[in-house]
């Protein structure tokens, strides 16, 4: 009998991004919560809560995070991960002016939500 290949959590690079509710963890980490729709994500961003776009494709993640922030707050400023926030910090979009608080984070090949 042929040996079955071991299934792992490898996600195809072309799989579409997902959106999750998020909270800030320790050392700059972004803790992912339940899967939500884009409309729900935009509502969270309007009210100042965090969301994170997850997936293997950097450009797709970035584009979706930008769309969420733009639709929610009318302006989306892209910020790199802050070095002081630790190795688990994620790049993100945020409005030009505060409030609302919060961020639309997105994963990169090197940085993931926990």
């Amino acid at each position: 009998m042929a040996k079955r290949s071991k299934l792992t959590n490898v996600v195809p690079a072309d799989s579409p991004p997902g959106i999750r509710a998020a909270t800030l963890g320790t050392n700059g980490s972004v803790v992912q919560g339940t899967m939500i729709s884009q409309a729900e994500a935009e509502l969270r961003r309007k009210s100042g809560d965090d969301v994170v776009v997850v997936g293997p494709n950097l450009q797709a993640n970035r584009t979706l995070a930008q769309a969420i922030e733009l639709n929610a707050n009318g302006y989306a400023q892209r910020h790199p991960p802050h070095p002081s926030a630790g190795l688990n910090a994620l790049p993100h979009y945020q409005p030009k002016f505060r409030p609302p608080a919060g961020h639309a984070f997105y994963e990169t090949p090197n940085r993931k939500a926990v």
Partner: protein
């Protein structure tokens, strides 16, 4: 900024996906290089500076800095022109007021925003900062802070005291609960 330069920050925000992807990799490389650089002088940091170096003030609003409203730098140099002197930077960050009191050994320098800076009129928010070593034998450091309006502050310092208090409790209790985050 030596590592997280304004140019790299602008490139990271580029609408051109290829440029933005490139900047993503360069930012990762800059982060690794910066951590290695800081590790070379972490051993001579006063304890308060070591704590301060790990703090993240990203998005903090600059309430008062070492410059006058007209943009010129406020002189804190003693009349006798002796050093050290002190300067304060006050921030609003996550419902708290933070007061950074630097013991400085030289004038604070300010670099204006690059001409192509897209948010030159935006709020003076704290974007990114780096620590550097100026003189190992005399424990002299430099703190560079890139602000959201594109200005770069360079603070030559010996040590720092970080103090903070809640904005809400300040209003309710007439002074609020103060907590010292770090002391020299």
């Amino acid at each position: 900024m030596r590592f997280f330069t304004p140019e790299l920050y602008l490139k990271f925000g580029s609408a051109d996906d290829a440029l933005a992807d490139q900047a993503d990799q360069q930012w990762e490389a800059a982060t690794v290089a910066y951590r290695k650089h800081v590790d070379t002088f972490r051993d001579i940091m006063p304890p308060a500076v070591a704590v301060f170096e790990k703090m993240c003030f990203h998005d903090a609003q600059l309430l008062a800095g070492p410059q006058m409203p007209d943009g010129t730098l406020r002189s804190r140099v003693p009349s006798s022109n002796t050093w050290p002197a002190i300067t304060n930077v006050c921030l609003s960050h996550r419902d708290e007021v933070w007061v950074l009191t630097y013991v400085i050994y030289d004038d604070i320098r300010q670099q204006q925003a690059p001409p192509d800076w897209p948010n030159a009129t935006s709020q003076p928010l704290w974007l990114y900062d780096e620590f550097d070593l100026a003189d190992r034998d005399r424990n002299m450091f430099v703190h560079r802070i890139l602000l959201g309006d594109g200005r770069l502050l360079e603070i030559p310092f010996l040590s720092v005291i970080v103090d903070h208090f809640s904005i809400h409790s300040a209003g309710e209790n007439g002074g609020g609960q103060r907590a010292k985050a770090a002391a020299t």
